[in-house]
């Protein structure tokens, strides 16, 4: 019964979204506050309905209700509870429902932001947001109904794909979706500004927290997915330039550019039109990512044509929203007033450069991902665009960006002084150069790019910390004063510093992978395999059974220069229901580095194949990303973004925030 109620709630949400779309839009046009105030109320109601539908599906999963097709196909009664829950979004229909749930949740939060958003802007924003909701509700109701019943009811489910039965994958999609969908709010605000024909620093101040939050979540989601691929797929790699990864990287790159351009807009009232365009672009890329992953077009243009219903539907959504918003942009953008002049050498100038490089990098990923599809569709020729292409084109765009980053952060607003900036960065540059040279000397004969990359990472860290030093330290001041000044710096400053230092850490982690060591061998119990100065001894291979799988466990004893460090286990699993084998990598963390072991097949002579890696500083890749996201969150908690709105926005539409 609850299943049908869930289905009904979705239909109800669709009806309410239509109201949320039409009424406030009209209200904003005729300036009727009553009509405009319909927006927040309906937004909350839509969220309630979708939330109920999601809950209904969740209950069906947790109670293993095998009369529901979706549960049959993706669940099993013996599955641990956490995977019964994560199974809800471990499939197409459920993940779309989660997408909509997050979308409407964001709408509800905008609706509740009672004080900070002018009513007209809010009404238009929620109307645009409702349009997105309508499109996706139609998609799920027409092509991807998760509540479909199955008759006769089977007695057992087909289990969730074993690769998805992993804590990392349980939280990866929600994080990623919050990021993707978060940009829908920025998009809605941008369209609302275009509809209204006015935009100012207040707009930027309202939009920035949303952008920052979406960006931070997307960062977390991508990092999480990367770490999951690293330990679950068993190849030891952490980024594969897979189209699905690229689909999440593109909005991240555009979103990163957006986070920076809104700063310029908020502080200096410049780059307005560009910021609007970027908001539209970022969400368009999120939609594109959804299309790429959900339509099956990635495997081949042909597999897309086999079952086109879903693909065509999302393609329709894509074209309608991207085309519509760009048309709106072309029509209304000339109305927006440009403001805020600045010299080319200035903080703004540096941020413009940042935007240029980030969007070019984004375009590169975009073209690399879609070129094979377009070529196949147009000429029938099949080519592959893989990691070698992206490494070759992406890195030359990102490295200059990272090199100018500390300079940009140090430059003054409006008109900067390049010489003075260089002087202020002198210590950071000198130190990182010295470390790079020392590393080159130490690792002479090894990979050349590794020390350079590490040096760049250190420059990024020192260069961003430099801002804290110059703003809190002066000659002769006591440590207590320095500490007080440093802690009194705005949180957004600390956020910037941390996010940039986080990139530095990630860069170091990536560069250090050039020093990783791999070895492959066939071992019998007692046999030994070496990777660099580390050595493993195969203790035993034993069978073991758990809830829903059987596995062969290889115990490896790890030692370093004859000193024992402990045991790690690596497994070959067989998930019984699907009869599917997986390998579980055995990982031992030593400081920031890891020993990574992955089981191969049994050889003819009874020994087992083993891949062993020593990966120096590999954890920095993800620690850096976590710090980046934390920097975003810290910036989000800046008091400037929390207070400063008048108590009632209704009667005071134009300038809700007083000067700082």
């Amino acid at each position: 019964m609850i299943v049908e109620a869930g289905h009904f709630a979705l239909a109800l949400a669709l009806g309410l979204s239509l109201v949320q779309f039409a009424v406030p839009l009209w209200g904003a046009r005729v300036n009727d506050p009553v009509l405009m105030n319909v927006a927040p109320t309906t937004a909350l109601a839509v969220f309630g309905c979708v939330g109920f539908a999601f809950l209904a599906l969740l209950i069906a999963y947790v109670s293993s209700d095998f009369s529901v097709l979706n549960v049959v196909e993706n669940s099993h009664s013996t599955k641990p509870l956490i995977y019964k829950i994560s199974g809800v979004w471990g499939n197409h229909e459920g993940s779309m429902l989660l997408w909509i749930l997050i979308l409407t949740a964001f709408g509800a939060v905008v609706a509740l932001a009672r004080r900070s958003v002018p009513i007209k802007l809010k009404a238009n924003t929620l109307a645009v947001q409702a349009a997105v909701t309508i499109a996706f509700l139609l998609f799920i109701l027409i092509t991807s109904n998760p509540f479909k019943r199955v008759v006769p009811m089977p007695s057992e489910g087909q289990d969730l794909n074993p690769l998805l039965q992993d804590p990392g994958l349980a939280i990866h999609p929600p994080l990623l979706y919050v990021g993707y969908v978060g940009f829908s709010i920025t998009f809605a605000f941008a369209c609302a500004a275009l509809i209204d024909g006015r935009i100012d620093a207040v707009w930027a101040r309202i939009v920035r927290p949303w952008t920052l939050a979406a960006w931070a979540f997307l960062t977390l989601g991508i990092a999480m997915g990367s770490y999951w691929a690293y330990y679950e797929l068993g190849w030891g790699g952490w980024w594969f330039w897979d189209p699905v990864e690229n689909a999440s990287l593109m909005p991240w790159l555009a979103g990163t550019a957006l986070v920076h351009s809104t700063v310029v807009m908020e502080k200096r009232n410049a780059l307005k039109v560009w910021t609007i365009l970027l908001s539209i672009l970022t969400f368009s890329l999120s939609l594109l990512g959804t299309f790429l992953v959900r339509s099956g077009v990635l495997t081949s243009v042909h597999s897309f044509a086999v079952d086109p219903a879903r693909g065509i539907f999302i393609l329709g959504i894509l074209i309608a929203f991207i085309g519509g918003s760009f048309a709106l942009f072309a029509w209304r953008a000339p109305l927006l007033q440009q403001g805020g002049l600045f010299a080319p050498v200035s903080r703004e100038g540096a941020l413009v450069l940042n935007n240029l490089f980030l969007t070019t990098a984004c375009a590169t990923v975009f073209i690399g991902t879609l070129y094979p599809l377009a070529l196949e569709a147009l000429t029938g020729e099949k080519i592959s665009v893989g990691a070698p292409f992206f490494n070759f084109t992406f890195l030359p765009l990102i490295v200059p960006l990272l090199l100018i980053l500390p300079f940009g952060q140090t430059l003054a607003w409006k008109r900067g002084n390049l010489l003075g900036t260089t002087q202020r960065l002198f210590v950071a540059m000198g130190l990182s150069l010295a470390i790079t040279l020392a590393l080159i000397a130490l690792t002479f004969g090894g990979p050349v790019l590794a020390p350079l990359g590490v040096g760049l990472g250190i420059f990024l860290i020192l260069g961003s910390l430099n801002e804290v030093v110059t703003r809190s330290w002066s000659k002769g001041s006591s440590w207590a004063v320095v500490w007080r000044k440093a802690t009194a710096l705005p949180r957004s400053t600390w956020g910037t510093v941390l996010a940039h230092a986080g990139i530095g850490l990630t860069v170091i982690g990536i560069a250090a992978q050039a020093w990783s060591v791999e070895s492959i061998g066939a071992l019998k119990p007692g046999g030994v395999l070496k990777a660099g100065s580390y050595q493993v001894r195969l203790e035993s291979v034993k069978p073991r059974a758990a809830f829903n799988y059987r596995e062969d466990v290889a115990s490896l004893n790890v030692s370093h220069d004859g000193r024992e460090l402990g045991t790690l286990e690596t497994m070959k699993r067989l998930y019984v229901t699907r009869g599917m084998p997986t390998t579980e990598a055995g990982i031992m963390t030593i400081g920031l580095s890891q020993i990574y072991a992955s089981l191969g097949e049994v050889q003819a002579d009874g020994s087992i194949g083993l891949r062993l890696y020593y990966k120096p500083l590999v954890l920095l890749i993800w620690i850096g990303s976590l710090i980046m996201a934390f920097g975003g969150a810290l910036s989000l908690s800046d008091r400037r973004l929390r207070v400063g709105a008048p108590s009632r926005a209704q009667t005071f539409q134009t300038l809700p925030a007083p000067a700082e």
């Binding site: 999609p173 189209p243 959804t290 080319p344 690399g368 070529l375 191969g600 083993l610 009667t651």
Partner: protein
């Protein structure tokens, strides 16, 4: 968003082999290094975006052995690649060749950067011609007065 990818990875697991096995490794370390270099640039044709060096599929294993056989027979790296392209088409190369049909792909990043840069220059040059708006709009003036006079907006 990796579900599709995983699904395909799973489909390709059917061979239940595993990336580079000990029995495939060549005795000569120099040849083996070359073999690894070549195979990391070759696509496993039945997988999604995986090199044959990473892939678990049995086809990838066959290709890995093939690459090594050709190397042992004395082929250069390019000869091995050409041999595979002849057999499987350009699809097998993860790094596309620079030819007429990929020229746009290879040049696109530079074109975007250059065009973007040019656009910026033009925008920069045109900007100073535009006068900054003078004074405040009436509603801004009203709002400012309200702030300066310490009046909260009515209704609070």
């Amino acid at each position: 968003m990796r579900f599709l990818f995983i699904l395909l990875a799973v489909l390709s697991l059917s061979g239940a082999a595993h990336a580079v096995q000990p029995d495939e490794v060549l005795k000569d370390p120099a040849l083996e290094t070359r073999a690894r270099g070549i195979s990391s640039g070759l696509r496993c044709l039945v997988c999604q975006n995986q090199s044959i060096d990473d892939s678990d599929a049995s086809l990838a294993k066959d290709l890995r052995i093939l690459v090594r056989e050709r190397l042992v027979a004395g082929d250069t790296d390019d000869q091995v690649r050409d041999f595979l392209v002849q057999r499987y088409g350009e699809f097998v190369l993860l790094k596309p060749t620079f030819k007429a049909h990929t020229i746009l792909l290879w040049l696109a990043p530079f074109l975007v950067l250059i065009l973007g840069g040019l656009g910026l220059l033009i925008a920069m040059r045109r900007k100073p011609a535009r006068p900054a708006p003078e004074g405040l709009a009436p509603e801004e003036r009203k709002a400012l007065d309200a702030l300066l006079n310490g009046d909260k907006p009515s209704g609070s």
